[in-house]
């Protein structure tokens, strides 16, 4: 698989480490009343779709950036690659 890095261009996926679902960006607030339930869902429960899937990849053997990759899990076709920092900012998770 080739991941089209937003800054570095096309890179082989073997340079990357795959973490998992991009919902991991949305860490719950530990001070919420339902924090235990929210962290259980956050850590352990997954949609696991057959089809379009947003996931976090880490460019371990490259510039060490985190990417949000949109990939089809039935064909491995990648339709969109964004910097996770941009995505986190857009979701209000980072400044």
């Amino acid at each position: 698989m080739i991941i089209n890095h937003p800054l570095l261009g096309p890179r082989d996926s073997s340079e990357f480490y795959h973490l998992g679902d991009a919902t991991l960006i949305d860490r719950p607030n530990r001070e919420d009343v339902n924090a235990a339930e929210a962290f259980y869902e956050y850590l352990y429960v997954r949609d696991n779709p057959a089809g379009k899937y947003c996931e976090l990849w880490y460019h371990e053997q490259g510039d060490r950036s985190w990417l949000v990759v949109t990939r089809d899990t039935t064909t491995h076709e990648i339709s969109e690659v964004k910097l996770a920092s941009d995505e986190a900012r857009a979701r209000g998770r980072s400044v």
Partner: protein
């Protein structure tokens, strides 16, 4: 029809005209006591034990495609009970004991071959962990032998013992482990279940569940609605997709695991050997092909095919400890979709929906569990209470903090 040496002989002398189909083609009835969704190894074993051991009569197994077409037909056929955690190994040892008597039980040649599994060790630390694991295995009734370098050399003298980075210094050997013919396991259980009156219905996809007021009363299929008192889902690889139809989200990700077979060679490797400094397991089939596999591809996939980096990694591992195979040619490779659970351990449990049960999350270790999974799931379905050996394989264990993390890597499915 019972198989016997006499039957083989007489059929051979009379033109093999007396063989009959191993199971019947069935159309679904309107109503069953128990429906098992998925005619893979675990589903068929469940139906078999329900009908044989737990006295259930009115059972159907529904299968989207053809019987045994999923991971029971795609694995590397290894059977073993060398787990460590007390929640796991008694269960797998139960499976091992069922494996040892499977062919007599089913009157079917599953080519069970107890040639042993040898885990290679390459450091002092690894010898310590093998000693610990071996002791845990002995305590749960399994067999284990800790070998030093010479012990390993006596068993498999052809390995590369003096690799610069990963010299072989020790090994953990389970003599009772081995391999079984994967397809024949599915066929044997299907034949046994069919003989006990189970309806095995192929090309019948479950498209939805009939759930009213929190009670599951049946399934919707491509062959119409079927009512059932209990529905047991058993579709590892597709668990999330099927349980989504019941509105459930699972602690599971689907990942692809590749397996490989070489061209046929003369007898080369006596049992199953695994490399301890990477991840590679290899055995030799009765046809002579070397059957081997390694890690999953580490990204979510439903594609049933993998990518080249894992193949390269497996080849590198193999060259590190079996350089004599460097000129063997790869004959075939394939991929299967694994239910990778969040702690690397499976589920055999009720769901919050009454009458709906779930079996899945086998990661890439489901084949060896087949008989015990079927037995324990049948126990749960028939008696509504978990089998003591599978009582920890619960869906809510993450919420309760009772995870069963054999490898100790946390909620990271691609690392288990």
């Amino acid at each position: 029809m019972r198989f016997s040496a006499l039957k083989v002989l007489t059929e051979g002398l009379t033109g093999n005209k007396g063989w009959t189909p191993h199971w019947r083609e069935r159309e679904p009835k309107n109503e069953y006591d128990i429906i098992v969704v998925g005619a893979g190894g675990h589903g068929l074993a469940t139906a078999y034990y329900l009908s044989k051991k737990y006295g259930q009569k009115n059972i159907a197994v529904l299968e989207k495609g053809w019987l045994g077409g999923g991971n029971i037909g795609r694995n590397t056929t290894i059977v073993r009970s060398n787990y460590m955690l007390p929640e796991n190994n008694p269960f797998y040892e139960h499976a091992m004991k069922l494996w040892e008597n499977l062919e007599q039980e089913l009157n079917y040649n599953a080519m069970m071959s107890q040639r042993g599994i040898l885990n290679l060790g390459h450091s002092d630390a690894q010898r310590d962990t093998y000693a610990r694991r071996g002791n845990a295995m002995l305590m749960s009734g399994a067999d284990a032998v800790l070998l030093d370098r010479n012990g390993v050399r006596n068993l498999v003298p052809f390995l590369n013992f003096d690799h610069e980075r990963f010299p072989i210094t020790c090994g953990l050997w389970q003599p009772r482990a081995g391999t079984a013919r994967h397809d024949a396991v599915a066929w044997g259980y299907a034949r046994g279940a069919d003989q006990n009156g189970v309806d095995i219905i192929q090309n019948c996809e479950v498209t939805g569940f009939q759930i009213e007021n929190g009670v599951c009363t049946g399934v919707e299929t491509t062959k119409g609605k079927i009512t059932a008192k209990k529905v047991g889902v058993c579709v590892a690889g597709s668990s999330s997709r099927v349980m989504e139809k019941a509105g459930m989200r699972l602690p599971i990700e689907s990942h692809v695991l590749q397996a490989f077979v070489s061209e046929g060679l003369k007898l080369t490797i006596p049992g199953v050997v695994t490399f301890g400094a990477g991840h590679l397991y290899i055995s030799q089939s009765d046809k002579g092909g070397l059957v081997f596999g390694g890690d999953i591809d580490k990204y979510n996939s439903y594609a049933q095919r993998g990518n080249l980096p894992v193949i390269e990694h497996c080849a590198e591992d193999m060259m590190a400890f079996l350089p004599m195979l460097g000129r063997a040619r790869l004959l075939r490779m394939w991929g299967g979709v694994m239910d990778m659970s969040m702690d690397g351990s499976p589920f055999i449990d009720k769901t919050h929906i009454e009458g709906l049960y779930f079996n899945g999350g086998w990661c890439y270790g489901g084949f060896k569990a087949t008989p015990a999974s079927g037995d324990c799931y049948a126990h749960l379905l028939a008696k509504d209470e978990p089998h003591p050996l599978a009582a920890n394989f619960r869906l809510d264990r993450f919420m309760r903090g009772q995870i069963i993390d054999e490898k100790g890597v946390g909620a990271q499915p691609n690392q288990h």
